[in-house]
């Protein structure tokens, strides 16, 4: 589904990613872990197409197509989704209207009929239940005054309504208490199918207690320095990142 080859990325002239290689198949869940500043969020943002990130080298193929040539909105319509670490507050836009506009853009792109407010409302109801979000948040301005947990849940709601094929969850666990974390994780697990893939970007292992990854990769200084199964995450939790740092230096 996704094939990243030798990806080098810079932000404001500073190189952050220095040759990422990663292949993700449909049905898989991958976790990217790493210390702060290792480039995790840069990878997430560049896959979604943030204009501030400059690709210096390398390729990303998504379903055989060149992802890096697509604008952010085309990526989204083609089924790429990023759950933001810091969702943006947009004070003049109603959450409901925003969700409806997004879903209809994606539906149009997929050759489906647009939904009217009534149809969308019942479609949305189910999804709101799935992510256990407070219904009242739909009639508020997008993310404005939402708590940290409400913002993250709203991100997962967007994932649920857009039904992406490839979703990147950037630090979705940060700012959530344990109850919220469990319910968000349960929602993500329900959205897993054999046809989609998920990339979890996280600093801590605790999210992986609830969403079990097939592969865990450790990012350090802009490179994947170690890959393994879910046990690798437990290793990192127990031993911290220092041994990775040492191994990486001795490479």
């Amino acid at each position: 589904m996704l094939e990243i080859r030798n990806l080098h990325v810079a932000v404001e002239g500073k190189k952050i990613l220095a040759g990422i290689n990663l292949t993700i198949q449909a049905g898989e869940v991958h976790a990217i872990m790493g210390p702060n500043g290792s480039g995790k969020s840069t990878l997430a943002q560049v896959l979604a197409g943030h204009p501030s990130y400059e690709v210096l080298e390398g390729t990303v193929l998504y379903e055989g197509k060149n992802l890096l040539e697509m604008s952010p909105e085309i990526r989204a319509r083609e089924g790429v989704f990023l759950a933001f670490q810091y969702p943006v507050e947009i004070p003049g836009v109603m959450n409901f209207q925003f969700l409806k506009a997004a879903v209809n853009e994606v539906r149009k792109h997929r050759g489906l009929e647009e939904m009217d407010a009534m149809d969308f409302s019942s479609f949305l109801d189910e999804k709101v239940k799935l992510v256990e979000m407070d219904q009242g948040l739909l009639n508020r301005r997008l993310n404005e005054g939402f708590s940290g947990g409400e913002k993250k849940r709203n991100e997962i709601l967007q994932m649920a309504v857009l039904e992406p094929k490839f979703a990147v969850l950037d630090e979705t666990d940060s700012g959530l208490d344990i109850d919220a974390l469990q319910s968000v994780a349960a929602a993500v697990n329900q959205l897993r199918t054999p046809n989609n893939a998920i990339l979890l970007v996280t600093h801590y292992q605790r999210l992986l207690n609830y969403i079990t990854p097939d592969f865990v990769h450790v990012l350090f200084n802009g490179r994947i320095v170690k890959s393994g199964g879910k046990e690798l995450a437990l290793d990192l939790e127990a031993r911290g990142y220092d041994w990775i740092r040492e191994e990486a230096v001795s490479l």
């Binding site: 197409g49 943030h50 604008s71 909105e73 990023l82 947009i90 004070p91 997004a102 853009e105």
Partner: protein
């Protein structure tokens, strides 16, 4: 300089007006004869050059045969086809297009007997004789008048539209004039609307006076969507009595060059003044808003929020003056001006002017000039929303902070609609 041309013409104005009006006219004519039009050498006009306009030999349409305008022509500019409206065509009151609650409102009270003493007392009373040559010119040209008087304690009137329609024949000048008196404890919504039916080079020279009695409440909306080839020079003068509340919204979408002076005096203690403004301009448009809030008495509150979006080579000036007089203790004033530039050629000057002579007051002001937030754009695009739609959503979000403040639903919806259509014309580039 063709002021002499106008002076001659004004001498010939019809004399069938109440004595109070003809006196007022004569005095204004003397002032107009003695004042020059403002130039950029004057501090208050340094960014706005009206000299090209003063060289054009405008003809006064109120002295010419009336143009034909139908109800169909004006409906797009009204929130409610059946609502109250006073309509003027090319500066002249139109009986057939208007729909007045006659006990409160008149389009022309020059022939009404009872009007005389009211006119003598209030008309021209709030406008300083030397405000500028334009206001003197307006008063010297007084013909028809939109007049609204809400009697003491009356609160049930639905919104009144004052619509000044210009048929926009080339080089036409008109002199809209509005006087609103709200007696003690009364409440009203007044929408002043300026439109042109064609793209002619016109000059609209408007003056509005508002007097709020004790505890009166007025929501005052001004909509300006005139020809982009035209000039719009307006001044509004408001006097607030004790514990009165004045809320204004000035929306500027049209005109090639517009200048809006809004001067509010909190003449009685405990007044509450809220000034909101929105200017959405592009192409070669230029708009200049000068507001003055004069806290002359204690315990007054003022809140001011002007926001602008500029496309193309649009140019905006916001000059917000707040005066707190020596006796105006416990004044609480706040002023904000925010601007969004869509194109590299757009320019804004934002000038706060605080003159605080009392010592126990709260006064804050802030101004920003920025671009559409890149992270917000990306967030929307990352959900499949196109760049153009994302841009539009963010612009709507920006203006909604102001339009949300219109409490009358019908008026708010019609303003939102008008604003949205203007935003759709913005390209984000240099026109």
């Amino acid at each position: 300089m063709s002021r002499e041309h106008y002076l001659g013409e004004l001498q010939t104005l019809a004399d069938s007006v109440p004595e109070a009006v003809s006196h007022l006219r004569k005095r204004a004519l003397d002032v107009f004869a003695s004042l020059s039009f403002p130039t950029t050498r004057e501090e208050d006009w340094r960014f706005t050059n009206v000299s090209p306009a003063t060289k054009i030999p405008f003809h006064n349409t109120a002295l010419e045969p009336a143009a034909k305008v139908s109800t169909q022509d004006i409906l797009p500019y009204l929130a409610d086809a059946a609502g109250w409206r006073i309509v003027f065509v090319d500066g002249r009151y139109s009986e057939t297009l208007s729909n007045l609650p006659r006990e409160f409102v008149a389009g022309n009270l020059f022939h009404a007997d009872k009007g005389d003493s009211v006119l003598q007392q209030f008309l021209g009373a709030l406008v300083p004789a030397d405000h500028n040559a334009f206001t003197a010119w307006n008063t010297a040209s007084l013909q028809d008048l939109a007049f609204l008087r809400i009697p003491s304690g009356f609160q049930g009137l639905s919104p009144v539209y004052v619509l000044f329609v210009s048929t926009a024949s080339e080089d036409a000048v008109s002199f809209p004039r509005t006087l609103a008196l709200l007696d003690k404890g009364s409440q009203a919504t007044l929408v002043e609307s300026y439109v042109t039916l064609d793209e002619g080079r016109v000059l609209t020279n408007a003056v509005t006076e508002v007097v709020l009695g004790e505890g009166a409440v007025l929501q005052h909306v001004k909509l300006q969507q005139e020809s982009s080839r035209g000039y719009h020079i307006a001044s509004t003068h408001v006097s607030q009595g004790r514990d009165s509340s004045y809320t204004s919204l000035s929306v500027t979408l049209g005109s090639g060059l517009s200048r809006d002076d809004l001067c509010v005096t909190l003449a009685g203690p405990g007044g509450d003044c809220t000034l909101n403004g929105l200017y959405l301009i592009g192409g070669e448009q230029h708009t200049d808003h000068h507001t003055t809030i004069d806290h002359a008495t204690p315990h007054g509150t003022s809140r001011e929020l002007y926001k602008g979006i500029l496309d193309g080579k649009g140019r905006a000036i916001f000059n917000g003056r707040i005066i707190v007089r020596k006796d105006a203790q416990k004044t609480d004033a706040e002023q904000t001006n925010r601007n969004l530039l869509l194109s590299p050629a757009a320019r804004v000057n934002s000038i706060p002017q605080l003159e605080i002579l009392a010592d126990d007051v709260k006064c804050r002001h802030g101004a920003t000039i920025g671009h559409l937030d890149e992270d917000a754009m990306f967030y929307l695009q990352a959900r499949g929303i196109s760049e153009a739609s994302a841009r539009r959503m963010l612009m709507q979000s920006f203006v909604r902070e102001v339009t949300d403040r219109i409490t009358t639903e019908r008026v708010r919806e019609s303003v939102e609609h008008m604003v949205l259509s203007r935003l759709l014309e913005f390209t984000g580039g240099v026109a």
